[in-house]
Symmetry: C2
Amino acid sequence: MTDTKPPIDFWFDFSSPYGYLMSEKIDALAAQYGRKVKWRPILLGIVFQATGSKPPADNVSSKGRYMFHDFHRSARHMGIPFTPPSRFPLPTQNAARAYYWLHGQDCALARAFAHATYRAFFVDDLDISSPDTVLDIAEKLGVDRPALAAALQSLEIKARLKDECEQALAAGVFGSPHVIIDGEAFFGADRLPQIEHWLKTGGF
Amino acid sequence: MTDTKPPIDFWFDFSSPYGYLMSEKIDALAAQYGRKVKWRPILLGIVFQATGSKPPADNVSSKGRYMFHDFHRSARHMGIPFTPPSRFPLPTQNAARAYYWLHGQDCALARAFAHATYRAFFVDDLDISSPDTVLDIAEKLGVDRPALAAALQSLEIKARLKDECEQALAAGVFGSPHVIIDGEAFFGADRLPQIEHWLKTGGF
């Protein structure tokens, strides 16, 4: 086990069901191979606007219906709790800003917040676009609610999230989740078997 | 082992790399669970036009580059020979028409032709849009070349292919490959583990 290799980048949007599925697996998988993971929430709206792409779940009706079915079936197949969300997709700038502010103070706390936020959306069907919901989630983890409420409006945190989105685009990210290991990109929760093979063999 | 269940539908376009990967696996997998597979080539151009979708590999440049990389990596991961095609995508109406004409005479011959056509494209980098290439492939399998050449222009075969595309759309197909088992749709070669689980358990 070694930590000398750079962390794996895990790019995701808090509104991405496949990002949620990846979030429940990637840390443990990476740890098996002595690797750490850098979680990097972004806003898919900015990515889609920049790349000219469209949200996969609503650009074609037969495809959209299929994907909603596949979210749930994939979760069952991976043994991950999933409740079909009643509101989807949701804007996630508040959740992402909260993450980066928390990360500046305590990495482990930010990770716990990210898990709790994904589960709030995809298990408890909460509206994570709401600042109040984001603050509720953080408060339960012991976070200073007024300080976080102020941070959500800070120019510094807004700039940080914008910068992360630009870095994602520069890294070739076009959707969520993207896992990038030493320059090798894997798009989608369904690439977990390839990610495992790559970590095991160092390329194939 | 029983053949009483209806065949699994395997919808694909001969220009689809993930369709090729599925074609190398689906028959053996289905056979393990006593199921047969009905191969149904279609034209993705018609499907994309009807659904308002776009070819996944060229609507966004970062996505397009990723997908070309992923075709090859997925083939390696699945242990399937793959040569990145120098012409892509290709029109496949000649290959699909030949398939349906052959199928009307000899199912096993049509299956052998489909495998040979996919491998001609994705292993030998041949231009399978050309009628001559299609006729060459068929002739090597013992097919009467002039009869097939005439069939490629027959109104009956053109109508058959059009009808198959319409049936695909009616079944909710929006890309290639789609595997539909007793009404349950699986899109993409990366759904093979879920297909296997479904065949084993009858749903999950």
